[in-house]
């Protein structure tokens, strides 16, 4: 008797909980997962394709479906860290197969060499190159993401990727990047400008 009642009690309890769970599963269903949007938010939107996907959004979708999070060189370690925080996956070092982290660059068209073929305009993923057929083209520097996709199609190799120049108001307080100049003490003070000789940057921070 007690054997049977034991089985019945447990089965009854299980039945009850099963009913509750079945109810909850339908009633409290969470709508679609916005994970892709969150990942896309983190990616640097250079649209460079170095990850192997045509643009940041496709890569975001791939990550959401389980692809590695370390394939974005423009984002670098910082992006990998953020993706790791978001997805809970391990933050692996950047996959060198997709390129290495580099300084921010911007495309610059040497205008006297440009033949106006529009190939770069078609290659630019963010429409940051202005120009028309047989007209000299130019890059809108503020809109350029530095993806360098325009470099390869150029038949005359007139596009350079130049590092973005720092302005004082966007300087990042890297004191050790200031070259220490060794000057002749006798020349430093009078008005004639001493020719500074660059030496090791032995600054203290």
């Amino acid at each position: 008797m007690s054997i049977l009642s034991g089985i019945l009690v447990l089965a009854g309890l299980a039945l009850l909980f099963g009913l509750i769970l079945g109810f909850a599963a339908i009633r409290f269903k969470v709508e679609s997962d916005p994970l892709v949007d969150q990942i896309d938010e983190i990616l640097p939107q250079t649209q460079c394709g170095q990850c192997g996907y045509p643009g940041c959004r496709p890569y975001a979708e791939a990550i959401a479906n389980g692809d590695d999070i370390n394939k974005c060189p423009p984002g670098g370690e910082a992006t990998i860290q953020k993706l790791s925080d978001l997805t809970g996956r391990e933050a692996k070092p950047l996959d060198a197969a997709h390129g290495v982290e580099d300084v921010k660059k911007v495309a610059y068209i040497r205008e006297d060499e440009c033949i106006g073929c529009t190939k770069c305009i078609q290659a630019c993923p963010v429409d940051a190159i202005m120009g028309a057929n047989r007209q000299m083209h130019t890059v809108i520097a503020d809109e350029c993401t530095g993806c360098d996709l325009c470099v390869e199609p150029c038949p005359v190799d007139c596009i350079d990727m130049l590092p973005v120049t720092t302005k004082p108001e966007r300087w990042r307080w890297q004191l050790d990047s200031i070259p220490v100049t060794v000057v002749d003490a006798t020349q430093a003070l009078p008005e004639q400008k001493a020719e500074p000789k660059e030496e090791h940057s032995g600054s203290q921070v």
Binding site: F17, L21, G49, G52, P125, L149, P153
Partner: protein
């Protein structure tokens, strides 16, 4: 061929890469509480291994019949059943060990390593793979228990396999080794803090070895990955 590889990966995962005790840090409560001697560690390790294998196989076999919503309760029922079975069997056949491990056997139910494997692996793979996974994961866990038990036993009382007869029968009493004769053993090793310190040191050693291996691994030439063209060009 891929099968062999998969078993290899499972083995490496269970014993080293993803060791439940050293990497996942799961099931620490019994791990830290009972590893005062090798015997205790081995006993609990074997018990956990059996439960893990049993639950993994069962979960894998029934996985097609279990709706997603109630999978966790079902896993818990399966695990709890196995733990209770093991407890009854130990009570009947290894009574000495049963009294020594005491309350920690029922605690296997809450060992997250087990439900973790059920959820992460067994519920997605066929029964033989799940069983093997349970075996290597359990083995990895048991090895750490034995290692920790050994360390604590040597430092804390200078012996090894003290009380092995409780687990393995009277013949095992001869296994007991008196390694060091302490006048004043380092009691902390046997007390709970010793378990924390010991586990920490084992994890540190494991991480150290991993680091060394990573450093030594020859730099493989980087294959350039295909870059996608975002546009038609």
């Amino acid at each position: 061929m891929s099968n062999v590889n998969e078993y290899k990966t499972l083995t490496a995962n269970g014993l080293w890469e993803n060791n439940p005790a050293l990497v996942q840090l799961l099931g620490l409560c019994p791990l830290l509480a009972v590893t005062g001697t090798v015997t205790n560690g081995l006993g609990l390790g074997i018990a956990t291994l059996l439960v893990l294998m049993g639950s993994n196989i069962t979960v894998s076999l029934v996985r097609d019949w279990v709706p997603n919503e109630i999978r966790i309760p079902v896993f818990v029922i399966v695990i709890a059943t196995f733990v209770t079975l093991i407890e009854l069997l130990m009570n009947a056949f290894t009574y000495g060990l049963y009294t020594a491990l005491g309350i920690f056997i029922p605690l296997i139910v809450t060992n997250c390593a087990i439900i973790g494997r059920a959820e992460a692996y067994a519920s997605k793979n066929p029964w033989h793979k799940a069983g093997f996974d349970g075996f290597v994961m359990g083995l990895g866990f048991a090895l750490v228990l034995v290692l920790l038990g050994g360390l604590r036993e040597i430092i804390g009382q200078g012996t090894l396999f003290d009380g092995a007869d409780l687990l393995l029968g009277p013949w095992a009493a001869s296994l007991r080794m008196e390694l060091i004769q302490f006048d004043y053993p380092l009691l902390v090793a046997i007390l709970p803090p010793g378990a924390f310190i010991g586990l920490g040191l084992i994890i540190a050693v494991k991480n150290g070895i991993d680091l060394q291996r990573k450093r030594r691994a020859a730099k493989q030439p980087i294959a350039k990955a295909q870059r996608a063209r975002v546009t038609s060009q």
